[in-house]
Symmetry: C2
Subunit: 294 residues, 2 copies
């Protein structure tokens, strides 16, 4: 069966004439006749009762035509739905970021997207890195802000900016008044770290291995904010990414490292197979610009 045939019977019903219906369908009368005949044979019923002077609709024909109307209406809806999404810079965009980044990055990014890509409907997802990667692979989200590198083969990434770590100490701490610090000054120092599953934990562990620092055992924080409060309480010291640093708090001091400072690279990550390369490019430009302006 064919959607055109359904349109044919609907038009014949409207005009009660094969010739007029053929005109409105932009086909010849014989085409219309044969197609309708085939449809009737396929359905096994007569839709029309025709003589050379009159076209009548059979009772079952009326029901068939009512169904055809619904089908064609639904097809119309589908096509206009598609038309409203033809713009590659429109539609839903599901965007993720891991927790220690999301709350600091999303506000400015969302604002930038809303003004630059007003037809994009944003859905924000805040999950740990491995969950975001999984959601990317499954197609549950379209793009994510992650620490690079991401080595999942089906994903590609573009780095956006470096986020340097600083040492967070309470203002009572012996190191509190240093203006800079060398990683090697931390040999055998103990660092408070985040809990398992946070990408920043892995980055901090890497830093420990390189600098000779140790993890402070027996306690692991679940968020940067908790970590910060623990530092203020004098429980220990930790690394804090620059993006999460709030210098207005007088009870905690952040000491930058001497160059080359430890850092993480934040980038956009999406599927190689994405059908929305246009948006990805726009996002890279957009975030680049919004970072310069802040």
């Amino acid at each position: 069966m064919n959607l055109k045939d359904l349109n044919y019977i609907v038009e014949v019903n409207k005009h009660r004439s094969f010739i007029k219906a053929a005109e409105t369908c932009f086909v010849s009368q014989p085409t219309l006749s044969t197609q309708i005949k085939k449809l009737e044979e396929h359905l096994g019923i007569q839709v029309f009762e025709r003589s050379n002077k009159k076209v009548l609709i059979t009772p079952i024909g009326e029901q068939i035509i009512a169904h055809a109307q619904i089908i064609l209406d639904q097809v119309d809806k589908m096509q206009s739905l598609a038309k409203n999404h033809q713009d590659p810079l429109a539609g839903q965009l599901r965007i993720g970021a891991f927790p220690s980044l999301a709350s600091h990055l999303f506000p400015s990014v969302v604002t930038a997207i809303k003004t630059a890509l007003p037809k994009i409907q944003l859905i924000l997802v805040e999950e740990k890195t491995d969950i975001l990667i999984n959601q990317l692979e499954k197609g549950d989200i379209d793009v994510a802000f992650l620490s690079l590198p991401v080595k999942t083969p089906s994903l590609i990434s573009e780095s956006l900016f470096d986020d340097e770590f600083e040492l967070a100490v309470s203002n009572e701490h012996p190191l509190a008044n240093k203006t800079t610090i060398s990683p090697h000054q931390l040999i055998d120092q103990q660092l408070l770290l985040l809990d398992e599953g946070h990408c920043m934990r892995d980055q901090a562990l890497q830093f420990c291995q390189w600098s000779g620092a140790k993890e402070q055992l027996g306690v692991r924080a679940a968020s940067l904010e908790t970590l910060r409060q623990m530092v203020i309480a004098g429980t220990g010291v930790t690394l804090m990414p620059a993006i999460a640093i709030d210098k207005t708090n007088p009870n905690i001091n952040y000491i930058p490292f001497q160059q080359p400072a430890p850092k993480r690279t934040i980038g956009l990550v999406w599927r190689k197979s994405t059908v929305r390369g246009k948006i990805m490019q726009e996002l890279i430009d957009l975030v680049g610009r919004s970072l310069i302006s802040t």
Copy 2:
């Protein structure tokens, strides 16, 4: 656009694989790929995001597929509706009879149809002859019981039985005790007649012209039942079709005419162009049999 294409995307959505979907659709994988690609181009959007390892559904694709599902479901409904009406002896039958016939004919006919054609859904219409003919022409009813002949060119008829007229007189009337009567005995007699628009009026007027009887002016009845009551009341005499005669009423006498008695022929009438010749033939047989049995 094509219904097959909609099925293709629905199946790919189900299996998340072009190869598996191709199998369930009984087409080759390249056919499926090219058809879906064409559909996507036609809609101007991407339904799927595919790599060689994974098939993902885009957000707009999900909506498109939801529409496709609805459309295909509706098509299924339409086809099963058609299937349930493939039996030529099933479905709705709209059947008419004029008033002076309907109340006496319908009960037995309906019973006969219900047992012989149980899958037929009957709709009964009781109207004056010209309205019934009009409804037949317009396709509002499928068949009617009418007095023959019917000379409308688009209709054909089959006679069922003759319905003889008898003279109805009150039991006080001078003719009340006759066992038969000749039409010529009615010369210059006045007959009560039905009102304009009843086919029996025309038949009675024809009888008057032939027999030399006259219409009793100044009063016209709207139904046979009224006419009967007027005869009982002594207002006059009239013709009564045999089918409407109830001999149990002692206040009115029905006198048969000598042969050849005046009569009307009752027949089935339907459109030449009908698509339900089978039912018409069944009806003729059926009514024939039901008349024999009564």
